[in-house]
Subunit: 220 residues, 2 copies
DNA sequence: TGCAAGATGGGCCGTGCGGCCCATAGGCGC
DNA sequence: GCGCCTATGGGCCGCACGGCCCATCTTGCA
């Protein structure tokens, strides 16, 4: 069985300003066994729902009135780093492609993709991988060489204080609270306080997820 | 056992592209009773002379125009396995350290070593032992540890059963034992047993380190 | 001057975790 | 058939963990 990704357990939020598209997509995904835990018609709603229910994957349309999908993606990546955003938009000509990627999108699919392709994109995102429609993949790679280096790490780390990063690094090394306290010359209780703040800021549940986050973010 | 090494009978070849250095070194060695049976200013000459006179020990500089000392060492080790090569090079910063070791160098000394140290290195090489300058030695050990760990990790990973890999993947997703049990349709107690086995096999302490290992190994 | 935020701590408490013992069932090789 | 390994499960236990209160002190900003 080897549950690389068990689609049954995947909690997905749909964000699109067209009710009809959302409804149709919901049905398709649910037929595939995906648990659609919410729908949003705007970026604002999307952010609010992400705060509330912290879905595994957000399927995000870019073209929406009010807050754009790019802005919503950026905000979601900031407040819930473990929630992966898959952009699903009209055309590969969309000029926001790069912005969406930089904003933290974990996948980029065009709307005429098949349901199978969307499923693969969602599953890939859920495990931290990315599925990008071939037409735009090369553009992305080219652009990425120019930008990323400081930006990606910068925004994420600004959420955590220096001291919290110290603690996070030690967490990722498998240290327990007593060892962290000794290494930083502080009380174990202070370590626990820092960890509580880290978990709250990253919207995660436990130190294991924190360690994984640290490794994936290149903090350690 | 331990063939007696009489420095009077030691036949040494000096390889260095600097005439002055070779000459000075020859005098020093001959004062110590070493029989310098040849000098070479290049790797090609060194190989030729080794073929002709089969010295006991070759004292080899690494930085030479044309064929490098590493290449010459590799060739000599191949054509005259009984001839020991002692690398004598400028700095412990030399990047070729490991290459030289792999190429078959039987000792590794920096050029600011004392004549006594060089003598000990040559005698050691002559009886199949190795003298390595401390700054170099630490690097070698470090590399060995890394290699050993890598190989160990590879070996060990293959020792993880499929079921244990299932569990490990879920650990890395931050799931607790109850969630893992539910996902795999087994008892939480069985999950704990699997985890205990994983920790033992990977020689780690807790599930955090297991999660980090999984991420770094690309298992998730 | 006051106030917000961060770093430093303490106490209490429920629960998750991992180690220790143990058993049973099934497959695989000798 | 016998031994070995794996997967499955149980009971017990001590400790680590994370949430919930709370406090103090410093720093910086308005």
């Amino acid at each position: 069985m080897s549950p690389k990704v068990d689609s049954d357990t995947l909690r997905v939020l749909l964000v699109d300003d067209h009710d009809l598209f959302r409804t149709g997509l919901r049905n398709l995904l649910e037929e595939q066994g995906v648990q659609v835990v919410g729908e949003a018609a705007s970026g604002f709603d999307a952010i609010r729902i992400v705060r509330e229910i912290a879905p595994d994957v957000v399927v995000m349309d870019l073209n929406m009135p009010g807050m754009t999908g790019v802005e919503a993606t950026r905000e979601i990546s900031s407040i819930a780093p473990l929630t992966r955003v898959v952009v699903l938009t009209i055309s590969d000509q969309d000029e926001d492609v790069m912005d969406a990627i930089v904003a933290g999108a974990c996948g980029y699919l065009v709307k005429d993709s098949s349901i199978e392709e969307l499923m693969r994109g969602i599953k890939a995102a859920a495990i931290g991988e990315s599925l990008i429609s071939p037409p735009i993949a090369s553009k992305v790679l080219q652009r990425m060489r120019a930008v990323t280096l400081d930006q990606g790490a910068e925004t994420i780390r600004s959420e955590l204080s220096e001291r919290e990063l110290d603690v996070l690094r030690l967490i990722a090394n498998g240290k327990d609270n007593a060892e962290i306290a000794e290494a930083l010359h502080i009380s174990p209780k202070t370590v626990k306080n820092h960890i509580s703040n880290i978990l709250m800021k990253l919207q995660i549940e436990n130190r294991i997820q924190a360690a994984v986050y640290a490794v994936r973010s290149g903090i350690v």
